[in-house]
Symmetry: C3
C-alpha cells in the first residue's frame, strides 16, 4: 500500500487528508513511533511525543493537521488529519491480518438443533452446539465449543470466539463480538430466605438482550433477568471478568473495564466509563456520561449527567480528592493539635 | 390454573392460605405489581407498595395475612399468607417453563469413561466427557461440554450447565446447581519459595466436597485442598466469578455474592452473607450469621456470631460507620483547628 | 518407601540430610503434624509448632537441622535439613498419585489442523481443537475441550487442563501449567473514542508470550498485545480469576494472587508478590521484589526495589499503616479538639 493509497483510504473517514512529502513509498505496516522502521507508518496524537519526529525511522507519520512538520520532512512523509489516533486505528484495521476463528462453513462435528435458521456465509466451529429454535444472522462466526441453548438469536456479522455459552432465549444484535469463556444469560442470583435460614431459588425467567456493536471480553458473566430482560445497549464495550447481574441496563457506548461488578437492577446511562474493579450496590441509577474511577464502590444513585465519581463509598471526584488530601494531612493535623494543647496548658499554668 | 388451584398449591407451603374474592378466575402467569395485566398474579411484600393495590391490573395479588384488602376487592382477588414473597416465588417455580439444558438420555457424542455409574433418568449433553470411575445420581443433568475428570461423584437431581469442569475426585451432593464456566477442584495456589527466588509447586492432593442444595454461579472457581477437602456445605449459594481457595470451609446456607474472594483455609460459619467483591486474608474464621459488606477486606477473625462488618480492614459496622463519618467530617475538624490556633495566637498576643 | 529411602531421595535436594532414629520403618504417605498417624511423615518448619513433637503420631518428622530432637526420639524418627518445608513439599511430590488429565495419545475425537507439529509422548484429550500451524512439545498434555487457535506454540512438558483457550499466535514455554477456563490471548480492551460518543475497535495484532515454568490458575485472562507481546516471564505464578491486560510484562518468579487486575502496559519486576484483588492503573512500573498488599490500588510507579506497598491509593506500608492508625484515632482527636475548644472558651471568658 503506497502512501498515496493510504491517503485515499483515509479520505473515507476524514476530510481533509493532507499529504506532505512523497506519496510513492510503499508502506509495509504500522508500528509505534519509537519502534517503527523504514517502510512503516506511525502516528503522533499527543504534543509531548513530537520530539520523536526527529528520531523515528518511520517512512510515514500521521499527525494532527495543526502540526508544523516542515522541519522533519527530508526523510519521511506526513499525513495530516483532524484525529491522527483514529486515523492510525483505521490503518491498523486495514493492515491487520484476518484471523481465522472458525473455518468457513459449518464444521461436521457441530451439532445443530431443530428449527435452526442459519444465514448466508455463517461459520460454525468444531463441536459447537446450536440449540433448537436458534437463529444466526448472515456472516456471523461461531467459534469451536460455543454453546447456544435453545431459542438464541444472533444478528448479522457477529463473532463469538470459541467457548462462549449463551443460555436459552438470549438475543444478540449485529456485529457483536464476544470473547472466549463468557457466559451470557446464566441465572440471576436470587433466592428467597426462609424461616429456617435456608433459601428457595427464585426462578430466573427473563433473558439477556445485547444490542448491535457491543463487545464483551473473556470470562465475563451477564445474568438473565428474573422477569423481563437484562439489557446491554448498542455500542457498549465490556472488558474481561466483568459481572453484570440480573435486570441491569447498560447504556449505549458505555465502557466497563475489567473485573467491575454491577449488582442487580442497576441502570447505567449512555457513554459512561466504569473503571476496573468498581462495584455497584443494587437498584442504583447512573446518569449519562458518568465516569467512575477504578475500585470505586457506588452505594447510591448519581443522577446528574457527566459527573466523575471516585472512592468507597463513591462521591464526586472533587469531594473525594479533598477528603483524600485531608486524610493524608492527618499527621500534621495531629501535630498541630498536640502543639495547641501544649500551648494552652502553658497559658493556663501562667495564670 | 385457577385462583382456587393456586390456593391449593400454596397450602403445601403455608397454613393458613386465605382467599378473598373469586376463586374461579384463571391465572396465566406471574408479573411485577406495576406491570401485571388482567389474568396475572402479583404480590406485595412491603407496606410501601400497598398503594399499587389501587392501580394494579393483576387479577390476583398475594399479600401478607395482616393486610386489610376490603377496599380493593371489587376487581380482583387476594390470597393472604404469612410470607407473600416466598409464596410468589413458589408460584414462579410453578409457572416457570421448563428449560432444556440437555436432551433426555446420553448424547451419542458424549464420552463416558470406564467403571462409570449412571443413575436412572440421567441426561448427558453433547461432547460431555465423563472420566473413569465417575458416579452420577438419578435424574441429574450434565450440560454439553461439561468435563468430569476421574472419580467425580454427583448426587441425585443435580444440574450442571454446559461447560463446567470438575477436577478428579470432586464430590457433589444432591440437587446441586452449577452454572456454566465454573471450575471445581483446580489446584490450590501453593508454591514453596526457594533460596534463588523461584518456587516449587506444592502438590494439591485434596479434593472439593459440595453439599446438597448448593448453587454455584458462572465462572466461579473453587480450588481443591492441599490435603483433605475444601468444603461447601449444604444450602450455600455462591454467585458468579467467586474465588474460593484451597482448604476453605463454607457453612450451611451461607450466601456469597459475585467476585468475592476467600483465601486459603478460611472457615466461614453458617447463614453468613458475604457481599460482592469482599476479600478475605487466609486462615481466618467467621462466626455463624456474620454479614460482610460489599468490598470489605477481612484481615482477622470475627468469632462472635451475628455481627455485621464492613470496611478495609473490616470492623463492626457501627465502628466503621462512625469512622467513615469522622473522615467525612475532617474538613470541619480542620477548620475548627485552624480557628482555635488563630484564637490562641490572639490570646497570647494580648498577654 | 522406607525412611532410609526418603533420606536418599532428599539428598538430591539437600546436603546434609541427617537421620535420627530408625531408617527401617515404611512410610505410607504425608500428613499434617496434628493429623498424622503411625506410618506417616510430617514436618515442622516453624518453632511454634515444636510442641506438637510430644503428641504427634507421625513415624517420621522433618525438622530444621538446628532442632534438638533428643527428647522425642523414642517413638519416631527425624530427618534434619536446612529447609524442612521444601523437603516436605518434595516428599508430597513423591507421594502424589499421578493425575490423568488426558489419556495417553491423541483422542480420536480431537481435531488437529494442518501443518501441526506434535512431539513425542504428547497427550491430547477428547474434543480438543488444535489449529493450523500449531506446535506442541514432547510430553505435553492437552486436556479435553482445550482449543488452540492457529499458530500456537507450546514447549515440552507443559500441561493444559481441560477447557483452556489459546488465541492465535500464543507462545507458551516448557513445563507451563494452565488450569481450566483460562483464556490466553483474547483481544486487549482498546477502542478509539469518536466524536459521536461511539468507539472504533483498535485491532489487537500482538500476541501473548508465556515463559517456562509459569503456572496460571483457573478462569484467568491474559490479553494479547495491541502490537508486540504481552509477556509472562519464567517462573511467574498466577492464581485464579486474574486479569492481565494487553502489553503487560510480568517478571520472573512473580506471584499474583486471585482476582488481581493488571491494566494495560504495566511492567512488573521479578520476584514481586501481588496480593488478591489488588488493582493497577495502566502504564505503571513496579520494581523487582515489590510486595503489594491485597486489595491495594496502585496508581503510580514504585521504582525502588523491595518495597512493600498497601492501600488505595497504594503507598509504602509504613506510611499506610501510620495513616490507618491516624484514621482509627480520629475519634480521640475529635474529643481532644472539642476539649481544647471548651478550655479556650473558658479561658477567654475569664479575661
Amino acid at each position: 500500500m503506497t502512501i498515496q493509497e493510504i491517503r485515499t483510504y483515509l479520505l473515507q473517514y476524514f476530510d481533509p487528508v493532507e499529504l506532505e512529502g512523497s506519496g510513492e513509498v510503499t508502506i509495509a505496516g504500522p508500528a509505534k513511533i519509537e519502534e517503527a522502521i523504514k517502510g512503516e507508518v506511525s502516528f503522533i496524537a499527543n504534543e509531548k511525543y513530537i520530539r520523536h519526529l526527529s528520531t523515528t525511522q518511520a517512512s510515514l507519520v500521521i499527525v494532527h493537521q495543526s502540526v508544523d512538520v516542515s522541519g522533519y520532512i527530508t526523510a519521511r512523509s506526513f499525513i495530516k488529519v483532524s484525529d491522527p489516533y483514529s486515523a492510525f486505528v483505521f490503518l491498523l484495521q486495514k493492515f491487520a491480518t484476518p484471523r481465522t476463528v472458525a473455518r468457513p462453513g459449518i464444521a461436521s462435528s457441530a451439532v445443530i438443533g431443530e428449527s435452526v435458521s442459519i444465514g448466508e456465509g455463517v461459520s460454525i466451529g468444531e463441536f459447537a452446539v446450536i440449540g433448537d429454535g436458534c437463529s444466526i444472522g448472515s456472516g456471523t462466526v461461531i467459534g469451536a465449543h460455543t454453546t447456544l441453548l435453545n431459542n438464541v438469536s444472533i444478528g448479522e456479522g457477529s463473532l463469538l470466539f470459541p467457548r462462549v455459552t449463551c443460555y436459552d432465549g438470549t438475543l444478540i444484535g449485529k456485529r457483536v463480538v464476544i470473547h472466549s469463556g463468557s457466559v451470557i444469560g446464566a441465572d440471576g442470583f436470587g433466592f428467597a430466605p426462609q424461616r429456617d435460614g435456608s433459601y428457595v431459588k427464585i426462578p430466573q425467567m427473563g433473558i439477556v438482550e445485547i444490542g448491535d456493536d457491543v463487545e464483551i471480553g473473556a470470562n465475563s458473566t451477564i445474568d438473565r433477568a428474573t422477569m423481563g430482560s437484562t439489557v446491554i445497549r448498542r455500542g457498549a464495550k465490556i472488558d474481561n471478568l466483568v459481572q453484570i447481574a440480573h435486570n441491569c441496563r447498560i447504556g449505549e457506548d458505555t465502557v466497563i473495564a475489567a473485573q467491575a461488578g454491577i449488582s442487580g437492577s442497576v441502570i447505567i446511562g449512555k457513554q459512561c466509563m466504569i473503571g476496573g474493579q468498581a462495584g455497584f450496590a443494587g437498584h442504583l441509577e447512573l446518569a449519562d456520561r458518568t465516569s467512575v474511577a477504578a475500585k470505586a464502590g457506588i452505594s447510591k444513585s448519581f443522577t446528574e449527567p457527566g459527573q466523575a465519581i471516585r472512592g468507597v463509598p463513591a462521591q464526586p471526584m472533587r469531594d473525594q480528592f479533598r477528603q483524600e488530601a485531608l486524610v493524608r494531612g492527618l499527621g500534621s493535623m495531629k501535630e498541630k493539635l498536640d502543639h495547641l494543647e501544649a500551648e494552652l496548658k502553658a497559658l493556663k499554668s501562667r495564670e
